[in-house]
């Protein structure tokens, strides 16, 4: 850049000044000043900048918001304990003779992977504890992530602008199943080998490419000598790295969008009500991490999990009765069990629908439907607004019904995964249980949907009733004419607001781009199918009381009071 030709006499450059420390920074301790001199964190994170993240950022508080936190913390615990395990675990299928300290297996041939798992369990102090913490934390991770996802679903937290974060969540959910399966396979014990055999069959059943995929993944025929080393790479590098990236993106989006909050006095779509990140959340969330970690350690201390020495090394000719995958794969197992044995034969080929549909097909369906749901719902409702106040599930009866139906279907598949246990427990024949389950996976969700929807609608009715007539006081009054009635006490204004805060939309009308409905379907034609879906979605909704109705009801109540007063 060009030099200025003249120097103004008022230029500050002419003033002689000793450099001055900015006053604020002096308040920070030495190391913080050192850092801030090089990296202006203070300017980046101060509230007045309205940056996305600052120390006083407000987060709302609710127990259901802890579910995602549990998932996050158990993931961190998995990283920490997993690193410890990698120090001794040997991902090798090479055969060795066991020489370790578990007497019952000395001299047996087994893979190095299994021998090193025995070493972790018996020779390395604390190794068994860490193995068990790792496995319990894995259970906790999948369970809390699943329930967290249900919370997000039922409260509508996936709506605009959070669809992307929902997709990230679905991605993490699917990856956690892969991660869990890969981990379960590593010790190369009888159960993990049986699980691998199952996956081998599953992969082989894929039409066209099945045999190729099998040979590529296992490096030849099952079991080969490569798959554990490959799954190890998947388990400790590939999937954790992807998960970590997605976790960071997930949290960044939570910070950027700000957390949703439940309806309540003072809460709107334009604000967020809660407590400051520092110090309240640092303390609460930080403390909660230690609680989750502490509980996982106590579980690892007192509850045995995956005692591989009881199962023995993998033996392709052996299977323990009642060998079951970890619970989160149970629904796939169930689907595989109750599937009719359909196979197609075409031009010299075999299409194993009996395996590929319930295995690959069902998993694809679950993740596909989960991923598509926010967009399907938005298409039905035509809703393009941003939402930051959560739905109370009762106020969206169809979504809640669909969610419960999905859960019911999942549970039915899951139960089918224990059809042998059900049969022995209830003294039924296995065939009966299986036939029943084949029907139940389709019928039970429909019933669940209808019941849930009814319940939601009556809860809505009860809410409207409460807003108009107050809550039942439990006091029965006798009127001068001899009739009895229960006195109602008006609810608080705060509660009345909470109960009427949800939005109710008209259904979309079919038609060309001309809007019959105001702004909402402007500029876009609505197809007959979409209008039908929308009418179904919004139909039957209990309209919430209007201001006029509430006013009138109040008036009535006052009149009642005064007539009563006159009567006495």
């Amino acid at each position: 850049m060009a030099e200025p030709t003249t120097v103004s006499s008022t230029s500050p450059a002419l003033d002689v000044k000793t450099p001055e420390q900015p006053a604020g920074i002096n308040k920070l301790a030495g190391p913080a000043t050192w850092v801030d001199d090089r990296l202006p964190l203070a300017s980046m994170f101060k509230y007045k900048n309205k940056a996305n993240f600052y120390v006083k950022k407000v987060f709302p508080d609710h127990w259901s918001f802890l579910l995602g936190e549990i998932a996050l913390y158990s993931f961190i615990i998995l990283l920490l304990t997993g690193i410890f395990l990698t120090i001794w675990f040997k991902p090798s299928m090479a055969e060795i003779e066991y020489e370790g300290s578990y007497q019952l297996m000395r001299g047996l041939p087994m893979s190095e992977a299994f021998a090193s798992t025995l070493a972790l369990s018996f020779d390395i102090r604390g190794g068994l504890l860490v193995r068990q913490i790792h496995h319990w934390a894995a259970m906790l991770f999948v369970a809390s992530a699943t329930i967290h996802m249900l919370r997000v679903f039922f409260t509508g937290a996936f709506r605009k602008p959070r669809e992307l974060n929902w997709l990230i969540g679905v991605g993490m959910f699917s990856m956690s199943l892969i991660e869990g399966f890969a981990g379960y396979s590593l010790p190369d014990d009888l159960l993990s080998g049986t699980g691998l055999r199952f996956v081998d069959g599953l992969i082989r059943s894929i039409p066209l490419i099945g045999t190729w995929a099998e040979f590529f993944i296992f490096g030849g025929e099952f079991p080969g000598d490569l798959v554990i080393a490959r799954l190890y790479m998947v388990h400790i590098l590939l999937v954790p790295a992807l998960l970590l990236g997605l976790v960071v993106a997930h949290l960044a989006l939570v910070i950027y969008h700000k957390h949703t909050h439940y309806p309540g006095p003072g809460r709107t779509d334009r604000n967020v009500v809660g407590y400051p990140f520092f110090p309240i959340y640092v303390a609460k969330a930080g403390g909660f991490f230690f609680i989750v970690f502490g509980v996982s350690i106590l579980m690892g201390a007192t509850m045995s999990i995956n005692p591989v020495w009881k199962f023995g090394p993998y033996n392709p000719a052996q299977v323990t009765a009642g060998s079951q995958p970890d619970w989160y794969m149970g629904w796939v197992e169930g689907a595989i069990r109750i599937m009719p044995n359909w196979e197609w034969h075409l031009a010299g080929t075999t299409w194993s629908w009996n395996v590929v549909l319930p295995g690959m097909g069902l998993m694809g369906l679950l993740f596909g439907v989960l991923g598509a749901y926010p967009f399907i719902e938005a298409w039905i409702t035509g809703d393009k607004n941003e939402h930051h106040v959560l739905d109370r599930p009762r106020n969206v009866p169809n979504r809640t019904g669909l969610g419960v139906a999905g859960m019911t279907m999942y549970s039915m598949f899951w139960l089918a995964g224990g059809n042998d246990i059900l049969a022995t427990q209830f003294k039924l024949s296995l065939n009966q249980v299986t036939e029943f389950m084949r029907i139940a996976v389709f019928v039970a969700p429909v019933i669940a949907f209808l019941i849930t929807k009814r319940i939601c609608l009556s809860l809505q009715r009860a809410d409207a009733e409460r807003v108009l007539h107050g809550s039942e006081s439990g006091v029965i009054e006798r009127a001068p004419d001899g009739s009895y009635s229960e006195a109602h006490v008006p609810i608080t204004n705060d509660e009345a607001f909470t109960l009427t805060q949800h939005e109710q939309y008209p259904a979309l009308q079919a038609g060309p781009s001309l809007d019959a409905n105001g702004v909402r379907n402007k500029g876009k034609g609505v197809s007959a199918l979409r209008a039908r879906a929308s009418r179904w979605y919004f139909g039957q909704e209990i309209t919430k009381p209007t201001a006029a109705e509430i006013e009138q009801a109040k008036h009535h109540a006052d009149e009642d009071e005064s007539t009563k007063a006159l009567g006495h």
Partner: protein, 351 residues
């Protein structure tokens, strides 16, 4: 911030009353309660070092093979004590800090405005203009081939990136399949040996109704991977049934030795080793997904998700009276695969 409009009145019949009133906690108003909470927190944190030292002591002092009985359960003492001390130490830190946050830190709710997720229009326009400027600078509008060539070059890179994955495993061509999944070590004259002891079996070793798990004699010579791969395919079960109570088709009338029949142990569903034998019905049930095969009727599927009959191995006896295979399996064992039409396997009604 939020000004009520007539639209809002329609949407929210009850006007927003604003935040609920803040209610002071016991620890806010009562100094003694506050002090109590304070002491509890300090006590919890003070026990952490004690537990941490106990952890170290357990690590060095408790021998690995000591076991403790608590109620009916047997615990490894070291695992239990390490976990209890370590777990409690970690847990106490969490409980103490949360107790602090809940009782002594301020609990007054704060309100913060939200912004729309979308960038303001002005920002979008500015970015669009900057990008347009940048594109203009590249000259790509006039020299369009660069863009196309670059896209093509990047796209074609997928080829060298993916092709090396072709060596992930050997290619299951028809020849390789013949040598791998379509083949076991069973061969004419190979003895059937007990699965555990590797003792050869005689017809007289089996009583009617009995099932024995067996292997080909040669399996014993294999080790490591080759052993596991072979065992996953050639494991068999031998059953003895009363020949008068079972159906033996014409084509298989020489496959058995006086009612002793031999089948693959590998389920045709997804490959579990089958193990549950019902003597009365001659049914064999797979413990994995309960496919049920009728061993009294050429191994046909009578129930469950498996679609193919269990392959049967033709057997006879050698000069010394030991059971031997007459030949290899006539069809591949284990789960079906795409490249072979399995409808030609044994079916109900075949003779």
């Amino acid at each position: 911030m939020s000004v009520e409009t007539s639209k809002d009145v329609e949407r929210f019949p009850i006007p927003n009353p604003g935040l609920e009133e803040h209610v002071e906690r016991f620890t806010d108003v009562d100094k003694a309660a506050g002090d109590r909470a304070y002491h509890q927190i300090v006590m919890m944190l003070a026990s952490v070092p004690v537990l941490a030292i106990a952890f170290v002591v357990v690590y060095f002092a408790v021998p690995k093979e000591t076991y403790l009985s608590v109620f009916a359960d047997r615990y490894n003492a070291q695992n239990l004590l390490l976990g209890l001390t370590g777990g409690l130490a970690v847990l106490l830190i969490g409980v103490a800090v949360i107790h602090w946050a809940r009782t002594l830190m301020s609990d007054e709710e704060m309100v913060e405005d939200r912004h729309f997720a979308a960038s303001p229009d002005a920002d979008r326009e500015e970015i669009a203009a900057d990008l347009a400027w940048g594109i203009e600078q590249t000259g790509i509008a006039r020299r369009g081939m660069i863009g196309k060539a670059l896209a093509g070059a990047l796209g074609v890179l997928a080829l060298p990136a993916l092709v090396p994955l072709a060596d992930l495993g050997p290619w299951p061509t028809a020849e390789l399949r013949k040598e791998t999944i379509e083949k076991t070590i069973w061969a004419p004259g190979m003895r059937l040996v007990n699965d555990v002891t590797y003792q050869p079996l005689k017809a007289s070793d089996l009583e009617v109704g009995q099932l024995v798990n067996a292997q080909p004699e040669k399996l014993h010579d294999l080790h490591g991977t080759a052993f596991q791969v072979e065992k996953s395919k050639s494991s068999i079960i031998i059953v003895r049934m009363d020949p008068n109570t079972i159906k033996i088709p014409e084509s298989r009338k020489d496959w058995h030795v006086g009612g002793i029949l031999c089948y693959s142990k590998i389920c045709t569903h997804v490959g579990c080793p089958i193990s549950l034998w019902e003597q009365q019905t001659h049914h064999l049930l797979c413990p994995c997904h309960q496919s049920t095969f009728d061993l009294g009727n050429s191994g046909l599927v009578v129930f469950g998700p498996a679609a193919r009959a269990l392959p049967q191995l033709a057997i006879t006896t050698d000069a010394e009276g030991y059971l031997i295979a007459k030949g290899p399996f006539t069809v591949p064992v284990g789960p079906s695969y795409f490249e072979r039409d399995s409808s030609l396997d044994f079916k109900e009604g075949d003779q």
